[in-house]
Amino acid sequence: MVPPELDPIDERVGPQSGLNRCMQCGKCTASCPAAFIFEGFSPRDIMLRAMKGEIESLVMGEELWQCAQCLSCAARCPRDCSPAGVIQALRIVALRSNPNIDHMRMIEDGVKVNLMKTGQTILPDTLVLPNDLLGPRTRKRYKASAKHRRELGYRAEDSRRVEIPEEDLEKIRILLRETDYC
């Protein structure tokens, strides 16, 4: 694990982020549906700690992953700051430095495999809905979705009706490699 620091080329912690002008009014936290639900989660507090350079404690914390990225904070900020954007950039730093988030690294790896193989981020089997969110009728209908996909002419394994041609996939792979992603 490398010591945590913000990526200097990540635009989301650059001048547009508002890390140089947040006035701690708290409108973001008041607007935030995650703050309404998770005790202790506060985009305002994340902005304060990021401005003070407390990157290590931020990337080691659980709260970084509680934001649902609705962007209400950015839309309502009177100074056009984006706490959600800062959170996106911090999450990338956390992936490299927080040993306790293997579940997020699993998603990271899954997305990588999907992109390199098909040029798609999400495939039909990438997200599985937890059973206890669904009522009994919904569960039954959800289970039949692979069959109904086929009726619409879509394959079970791809989100595309027509797959990306191989020569284009090769270009996509070059772009992902040349940006140090894969």
Partner: protein
């Protein structure tokens, strides 16, 4: 009112930006979109070369921004060189993510330089003369053509709408109708087709998906969908119309359990704007709109509209 077509609202020559979420969860949304644009004779290109925009992994925070910008430099260039320069996004996250990437590519920064260097290595040239819109805006711009070809109307239907956060809240100055607190793009399309669009508390609240939340922190999804539906049932609508596959998934799949907990006995079909437009234009609700993939049965709505041939 719906008659006001937003300024600079392209009505034709669309480059269809397909969504990996829609294609994975509700392929009928994508099939419907193609059906609608073909039926109203809007010129569009469905280019198999286009890649995913990686927007959802960008928000989950599991893919760095640089590869995302590079991949979208390619998508933007494909559209720009195709002659169909009005990119129409099926997904609000693609819409805002593409705008984010284009802003970076049109500016000057280390990230832009690195993304363009990768393009060069792949033998690609960056070409940026495109517009970026969401498909609901394309429907609004083409409302007259849709009305002229519609086989059914929404007269007598009470509808509520949910606009995607990534449509309304990121490029909040670009909302084509209404404003980011109360976007009315879908409302205008629906009322133009005869529906009574009603308001409800928590209209601008998140759908509850939160990308990884629906899998890893379902408490968030449960609490938010409950808050959302507490407001929606006050309006007692016949249907809920969305513009995003992710919002559709959360609000559709979680509804049965949430309404049961809230003691509301009537189902509220959740349909994506593309599915609804296709159905009104005469598409097969099963084989085009894919209503069997929905958690909440859509048939009661179809019966109210007078669509024949439901199972």
């Amino acid at each position: 009112m719906y008659a006001t077509v937003p300024k600079d609202m392209p009505k034709d020559d669309y480059y269809l930006l397909k969504s990996c979420q829609a294609g994975s969860w509700y392929p009928g949304i994508e099939k419907s979109l193609r059906y609608v644009l073909s039926t109203i004779d809007a010129n569009f290109l469905d280019d198999p070369k286009q890649s995913s925009c990686i927007g959802c992994a960008n928000h989950i925070g599991v893919t760095p921004f640089l590869p995302i910008v590079a991949l979208n430099a390619r998508n933007i260039s494909l559209a720009s060189l195709s002659g169909k320069r009005n990119v129409v996004c099926n997904c609000p996250t693609c819409y805002s993510n593409l705008k984010d990437c284009k802003n970076i590519l049109d500016g000057s920064s280390a990230m832009r330089d690195r993304a363009l260097k990768a393009m060069e290595k792949a033998g690609l040239e960056y070409n940026d003369s495109i517009t970026i819109t969401h498909v609901s805006e394309a429907y609004l711009a083409n409302l007259d053509r849709i009305k002229a070809k519609a086989k059914y109307s929404l007269k007598g239907i009470r509808a509520v709408t949910h606009h995607g956060c990534h449509y309304a809240k990121i490029y909040y100055r670009d909302v084509a109708s209404g404003n980011f607190e109360r976007p009315t793009v879908i409302d205008d399309v629906l009322s133009g087709l005869g529906a009574e669009v009603v308001d409800y508390p928590e209209r601008s609240l998140c759908c509850g998906l939160g990308f990884h939340h629906i899998m890893l922190s379902p408490d968030y999804t449960r609490a938010v969908t409950r808050r959302k539906y507490s407001g929606i049932i006050e309006a007692d609508p016949d249907l809920l119309v969305t513009m995003c596959a992710g919002c559709t998934l959360s609000l559709d799949m979680c509804q049965e359990k949430v309404l049961q907990e809230l003691g509301h006995k009537k189902d509220i079909p959740v349909v994506n704007i593309s599915e609804l437009m296709a159905i009104l234009l005469g598409a097969d609700p099963y084989l085009v709109a894919g209503i069997d993939l929905h958690g909440v049965p859509v048939e009661p709505l179809l019966e109210k509209i007078g669509v024949e041939g439901t199972r």
